[in-house]
């Protein structure tokens, strides 16, 4: 739970762009693993490839018996990986430049300090225990298998033939057996006849490895695989041959897996905060533009109307004026005509009166 909170903080702290390096830059905190966590040191110069560790693991975990018995070393002819019935495998590596015989290496969960599987799991089914083991909780697992995509060591496996209750299967460093007191060391360590495996506190194991380097400088490469790889693991390897020849990738880098995605995850809250404001802004701008456009249109129509009206009025006035003038002249004409007629009538009347006077 603590760890999950920490990872959450890591994610939240990694603000800015989707660049993986920002997560660390944001804080001064650097997780170095639980201080007193346990791990296992594997010494490739001691391993004889007897598969006793495989048998020990199989037995303490009650896993199904394999097709070929554990003392059949013929299975080493083919390179194997962990599967749903096998938490650990030993592989033989031949034809290593400068080495006469074969070198063996045991493979199982490396129990990363900051596990990729735990960071990738969307139900937090994986837990990095303070004791060092990475354990998986069946009661919440959905079976999406993203942990298997994420693991750089290709460790988690899946029960593909279980129709409804498939489990993700992987080494748990015998965490359930050790916490219940059934075992004091993991099954594989207890079964190893050559002390190629040592169980102890991680910091002590690092010291043991360095002591061996000092005591036998020609026997070992001066590198502890797992001290820094993928941010460090609780399972550590030392070897006399380069690690790439015994199936350990040397190009994994030292960045803990959660940091690879924390930058991208940090963008998410930024988008959820910024996008609504931005989009509403764009909407508002468009709405306003539209409103202005409609208003301008209205204005233009109004203006055109007013202009037309004014023009019409002018024409009307002109026509009215003209009509008025015509009317006036018509009246004048009529008046003149009437006056003329009246004058004529008067003249005629006067002439008529003269005649009657003459006639009297």
């Amino acid at each position: 739970m603590q760890r999950r909170t920490f990872l959450g903080l890591l994610g939240a702290a990694g603000m800015g762009a989707a660049v993986s390096t920002t997560a660390q830059a944001a804080g001064v905190k650097h997780f170095e693993g639980y201080p007193d966590s346990y791990g296992v040191l594997f010494d490739a110069t001691r391993c004889i490839g007897c598969r006793s560790c495989e048998a020990g693991c199989n037995q303490v975990n009650g896993l199904p018996a394999p097709a070929k018995p554990f003392d059949d070393l013929g299975v080493l002819d083919k390179k194997r990986r962990t599967d749903a019935q096998t938490f650990t495998v030993v592989n033989r590596f031949d034809q290593i430049p400068g080495v006469a015989g074969a070198v063996f290496r045991k493979d199982q969960c490396q129990h990363c300090l900051e596990p990729a599987c735990a960071s990738a799991c969307f139900v937090a089914a994986f837990t990095k225990t303070p004791q060092g083991a990475v354990i998986w909780d069946e009661s919440v697992c959905v079976g999406c298998r993203y942990c298997m995509i994420a693991c750089p060591f290709e460790i988690p496996t899946y029960e593909y033939n279980e129709p409804l209750t498939p489990r993700v299967m992987k080494c748990h460093m015998c965490h359930p057996h050790i916490t219940t007191g059934k075992l004091t060391v993991p099954g594989c360590v207890g079964a190893c006849p050559t002390e190629a495996l040592v169980y102890g506190k991680r910091k002590d194991l690092l010291a043991v490895a360095r002591q061996r380097f000092a005591a036998f400088p020609n026997r070992y490469l001066n590198h502890i695989y797992g001290e820094r790889e993928m941010g460090g693991t609780n399972w550590l390897y030392i070897s006399g041959v380069p690690f790439k020849y015994i199936g350990l990738r040397e190009d994994l880098g030292v960045t803990p897996a959660p940091e690879l995605t924390s930058g991208a995850l940090a963008v998410v809250p930024i988008i959820s905060a910024a996008w609504p404001v931005l989009l509403t802004g764009i909407y508002a701008i468009n709405k306003r533009r539209e409103k202005i456009a409609t208003e301008e249109k209205k204005e233009a129509v109004k203006e055109a109307l007013a202009k037309a009206k004014a023009q019409a009025k002018e024409e009307l006035d002109k026509a009215l004026a003209k009509a008025e003038a015509e009317k006036k002249s018509a009246i004048e004409r009529e008046v003149k005509k009437a006056l003329e007629e009246a004058a004529k009538a008067k003249a005629e009347a006067e002439a008529g009166a003269g005649q009657t006077e003459e006639g009297e």
């Binding site: 697992c141 995509i149 899946y158 129709p163 990738r249 991208a264 998410v268």
Partner: protein, 408 residues
């Protein structure tokens, strides 16, 4: 009596129905196999290849190709391109069905499908990119459902809730764009955690941006592609407005897709430059990368631009197909080809026929449901009782199919 029966039977025995029937039968068979014998019996998945065709096609491609929903509604409601209005409903319906089918298909892939809500209701893993994808897809599916509901309510003649939802259109659209930005990009971000397993040409810290930008091109192209198909098969369900706006939508979306593809091309090149992966271009993987980048990004961008300039609808439609294929190719390249490129050939994955059956089965269900809804509900036409503006010409009414018309 018997002649009537055979005629009835003949009526149903169209090639379409026969093919659909076979697909549904096969799908049912594989479904039973999956839930009785497990993934091992129906897939070629291994411990090295935990994700196969169902994730690559049904999830990654499915979500990318359903991007038409948010691109179209954003163009219409947020960016104010109202002339795309008639394209919104078909795009929303496609997106809703697309996402529903993504979730449906996931039930085959995950081990315990009834636990799919666990991340939100039982125990959350917020450090996981998949949690973010899941949450966004979950919320967006609900959003798309609400956006689609008015069509169903108009069909049923229920006005009140329909009016409330229509009033919330802008808020729903913005919510949809936010969620889509996040999960479209996060689908790419899923692979950020595995740099050691990915080919450097496809792995980039900008892969979330690549996925987001390409989803816009995919969404726009899918709208063009689908409207072409719908025109063919659902022409009688389209109203005057839809038909009148259709060519404009096609030109507008083609122009948009051309620009987005150019942007996508440039950021992909910058991605190679930033990681200084130039030397890989001379390898076999590099040749394949160039096929994707030149043949399925640069070429469609160019063809879209030409087609818009020359007003060539046929070329636009074929370019839409090319773009969609390009996005599918990209999702396959990222999740299957570039992923685990370090493994020897005999350990690589190729899907089993059962896996293809389920993917085709899921798409077929999508087409059937789309046809069922689009031939009944007001998708390609405005419901006469629920129009936003009064129709200008009343005689248009005569041409409109009645909502109660039972198609085909």
């Amino acid at each position: 009596m018997s002649t009537l029966k055979t005629e009835n039977l003949k009526q149903y025995l169209t090639p379409f129905h026969i093919v659909v029937g076979i697909i549904l039968l096969l799908g049912g068979f594989v479904t039973i196999l999956r839930f009785t014998k497990g993934l091992g019996a129906v897939t070629n998945l291994t411990d090295n290849y935990p994700w196969g065709l169902w994730i690559s096609f049904d999830l990654l491609c499915g979500v990318a190709l359903a991007a038409g929903g948010y691109t179209t509604s954003a163009a219409c409601y947020v960016f104010g391109l109202k002339r795309f209005h008639s394209a919104v409903r078909p795009a929303i319906l496609t997106a809703f069905l697309g996402y529903a089918l993504v979730v449906f298909a996931l039930h085959y892939d995950v081990g315990r499908p009834w636990r799919l809500p666990y991340p939100f209701f039982v125990q959350s893993g917020p450090t996981s990119v998949l949690f973010e994808v899941g949450l966004c897809v979950f919320l967006y599916l609900i959003t798309l459902f609400i956006e689609w509901v008015p069509a169903a309510l108009e069909w049923l003649g229920i006005r009140k809730p329909r009016d409330i939802i229509v009033k919330a259109t802008l808020a729903l659209t913005i919510f949809g764009v936010v969620l889509s930005t996040m999960h479209q990009s996060s689908l790419g971000a899923l692979f950020l955690i595995a740099p050691s397993k990915m080919h450097p040409l496809w792995y980039s810290s900008f892969i979330p941006l690549f996925f987001f930008v390409s989803s816009i091109a995919a969404g726009l192209s899918m709208v063009i592609f689908e409207s072409t198909l719908s025109h063919h098969y659902l022409h009688d369900k389209m109203d005057e407005t839809y038909l009148k706006e259709h060519d404009g939508v096609t030109y507008g979306f083609a122009k948009g897709a051309a620009m987005v593809l150019v942007l996508y091309f440039f950021i992909k090149v910058v991605g190679v430059a930033l990681d200084n992966s130039w030397s890989y271009l001379l390898t076999g993987y590099g040749a394949w990368f160039l096929v994707e980048l030149l043949g399925f990004v640069a070429l469609p961008a160019f063809l879209y631009a030409i087609a818009v300039r020359e007003k060539n609808l046929t070329l636009i439609r074929w370019t839409a197909v090319l773009t969609v294929l390009g996005i599918v190719l990209n999702r396959f390249n990222v999740s299957l080809v570039a992923f685990n490129w370090h493994l020897p050939p005999e350990m690589r994955y190729f899907p089993r026929w059962h896996e293809f059956v389920i993917s085709i089965f899921v798409v077929t269900i999508g087409i059937l449901v789309f046809r069922f809804i689009a031939s009944r509900m007001p998708i390609f036409y405005e419901h006469p009782d629920f129009r936003e503006h009064e129709p200008v010409e009343l005689e248009e009414h005569e041409l409109k199919p009645h909502p109660q018309t039972w198609g085909h």
